[in-house]
Amino acid sequence: MGNSFVFMLLAVIAVGSAIGMLVSRDAVHSALFLVLNFITIAVFYVVLNAPFLAMVQVTVYAGAIMVLFMFVIMLLGAERLRGMWGDRPSELVFAAFLGFLLVVTFLIALVMEGKTAVSANMIDSSPVALGLRLFEGYVFPFEVVGILLLSAMVGVVILTISNKRGKNV
């Protein structure tokens, strides 16, 4: 850890794959770029001394969620998007300008802040420590997330079931 060369390399890959995902007009390529991005972030976690999070990142995001994405893309047949500039090029230019402003703001903020990063070495991020933290201070948000996921699931079910009803009538 502390090797800034590794960090720079990873950062370039992460940002590059994120841009690739946005720019690519082929949804499958976009999804693959996203997988690359997720894996790079997993490596980040390893570098930051959090191997367990890295494994979760790979299995849940790069694995399960992306497979789901691929399925959806396949089922919808929405592989290809139209031309590079979308429907409204002027909006794209405006958005790019705002994005540029944001980057400049962040750069200024980082330079002025002076300190580089919160040190991660002190934090114990083994599965045991993570589990203990979840059930000590964070037990309430943890339980509420359960309700949250449940309500999302209920939503999916009722929206699709009534869709079917609508078709039958």
């Binding site: 200024i108 802040e113 990063a117 203990l132 964070y138 037990v139 309430f140 309700i147």
Partner: protein, 490 residues
């Protein structure tokens, strides 16, 4: 490594447990019981029970889910009790005005009540959360059921559009919000609000960026300009009861978290966020009120009107950066907004004879002759929304303007007064249509007992706040002190 159980006092989260538990119970009941009325009354009972439990906590201050050596995850103080009461009342109001509506539009299903209870839990959590992580979880818990409820009328395209727009923009703004939390964490190494307060130094650029991102996330939820684009479309397309619920609940909850996060965790940045919020407030007032002038659909009109009211509330929040008593005026305004908006939507629902029909201004022609009581009620609500004495809207605006002047935000107070005058045009136009035209409408007006009860409560609330605002203001003022005390302790 040993497990050290946190200090848990379940009484503090009892209102949340009641609403969430009732939601889960209804889900199980769904297997056995197919009668819709049962769900309605059970939901009403659960919310009423939560309200009683909530009010019983007035005057006490405590936190719960405290891990060793840290701050409580959830707190209950007068501030949260006051806001939770508003939210629970909005839940009751929504139920009262939805009794007949859901049935005749064939939208009544057990899931509606379940989602509403979950969303209500998220809303209450927004005001009680003492940690940025919980604020985020609460924000999602309030939003996701609302996205679904907006799309409940799946057979209609505008309802689908409404849900889709709300969902996409909401998900985007949630992303921005989380980014803000990450930046604050990067600057301070903490997510608990008092811990952020303890560590934060004024002028830290990272925290400044984080504050800006948080502000964008909140501004989206409360529908402030320039993050308001979704509001009119979502309000128009969603079933009217859902519109009523989100125009009060989601907005009050957004302000609850905004106030707590900014006054408890980020007072070090108050110079920065005060100016930004004042600017957003001015833009919101002007755009919300001016665009509302052109609306002919009453739901869209109320949508823009809710944007404008977010502007008035933001004045109070901006003033709270100077002196914390301003929070009291925000709370009072919310109470007035609750009664008035719920009432106005009640009348809209009574006239909406079919899903999505009867909601144009034209449909209000000659209502005074057809149904004098309903139009008299609408008259009061419109006057209150404009801010004419002696209604709740006037009292709310009076205290907001006063706090703006005390915080030396003269220019903002002047803009607010001028836009209030402008707003008179589109609110009173509804009155004009009701009383000055002869209508040829023959569609029935659906005003059942539940809806009448709801309207009566809204009417009494609006007028009570109008005639005797002082006592209510005292109460709201007591709700402020709790939050500031929490600052010192923790």
């Amino acid at each position: 490594m040993d497990f050290q159980p946190p200090i848990i006092n379940l009484l503090i989260v009892a209102p949340l447990l009641i609403t969430m538990g009732a939601g889960l119970f209804l889900m199980l009941l769904n297997i056995f019981c197919k009668r819709d009325g049962v769900y309605y009354w059970l939901t009403l009972a659960a919310i009423a029970a939560a309200l009683v439990q909530n009010v019983a906590m007035w005057g006490h201050e405590y936190g719960t889910f405290i891990a060793r050596g840290s701050y409580p995850m959830v707190v209950s103080d007068n501030f949260s009790v006051f806001l939770n009461s508003i939210l629970l009342l909005s839940g009751i109001g929504t139920l009262l005005i939805s009794r007949n509506y859901l049935h005749r539009t064939k939208l009544e299903r057990p899931e509606f009540y379940m989602l509403m209870l979950f969303s209500l839990s998220g809303m209450m959590m927004m005001g009680m959360a003492n940690d940025l992580i919980l604020v985020f979880v609460a924000l999602e818990l309030l939003s996701i059921p609302l996205y679904i409820m907006a799309g409940l009328a799946v057979s209609r395209d505008d309802s689908k559009e409404s849900a889709m727009k709300y969902f996409l923009l909401g998900a985007f703004s949630s992303g921005i919000f989380v980014y803000g939390i990450a930046l604050i964490y990067g600057a301070t190494g903490a997510t608990a609000l008092p811990a952020v307060y303890a560590v934060l130094e004024a002028g830290s650029p990272l925290a400044m960026a984080g504050t800006a991102f948080l502000m964008v996330g909140f501004a989206f939820k409360i529908g402030a300009v320039p993050f308001h684009m979704w509001t009119p479309d979502v309000y128009e397309g969603a079933p009217t009861v859902v519109t009523a619920f989100m125009s009060v609940g989601a907005k009050v909850a957004g302000f609850a978290a905004l106030l707590r996060v900014f006054t408890v965790a980020l007072p070090a940045m108050s110079d920065a966020w005060m100016g930004a919020l004042a600017l957003i407030a001015a833009l919101t007032l002007i755009i919300g009120n001016v665009v509302a002038l052109m609306q002919t659909n009453i739901k869209r009109m109320l949508g823009y009107s809710s944007i404008a009211h977010a502007g008035y509330l933001l004045i109070g929040v901006a003033a709270a950066g100077q002196h914390s008593e301003a929070v009291g005026s925000v709370l009072l305004y919310m109470l007035a907004y609750l009664f008035t908006t719920m009432g106005a939507f009640g009348v809209v629902i009574a006239l909406e004879h079919k899903l999505g029909e009867g909601i144009m201004l034209e449909d209000y022609k000659g209502l005074a002759k057809r149904n004098p009581w309903l139009s008299a009620a609408m008259l009061v609500f419109m006057l209150s929304l404009t801010g004419v004495p002696p209604t709740g809207g006037f009292s709310g605006k009076f205290y907001i303007f006063r706090s703006a002047v005390e915080a030396n935000l003269w220019w903002l107070a002047i803009i607010a007064i001028m836009t209030s005058v402008v707003s008179g045009y589109y609110y009173l136009r509804v009155v004009f249509y009701m009383y000055m035209f002869d209508g040829d409408r023959t569609e029935p007006v659906y005003a059942g007992t539940a809806l009448k009860t709801g309207l009566l409560i809204a009417l009494v609330g609006t007028l009570w706040l109008g005639f005797f605002p002082a006592g209510w203001f005292e109460l709201a003022y007591k709700a402020v002190i709790g939050t500031t005390q929490l600052l010192a302790g923790g």
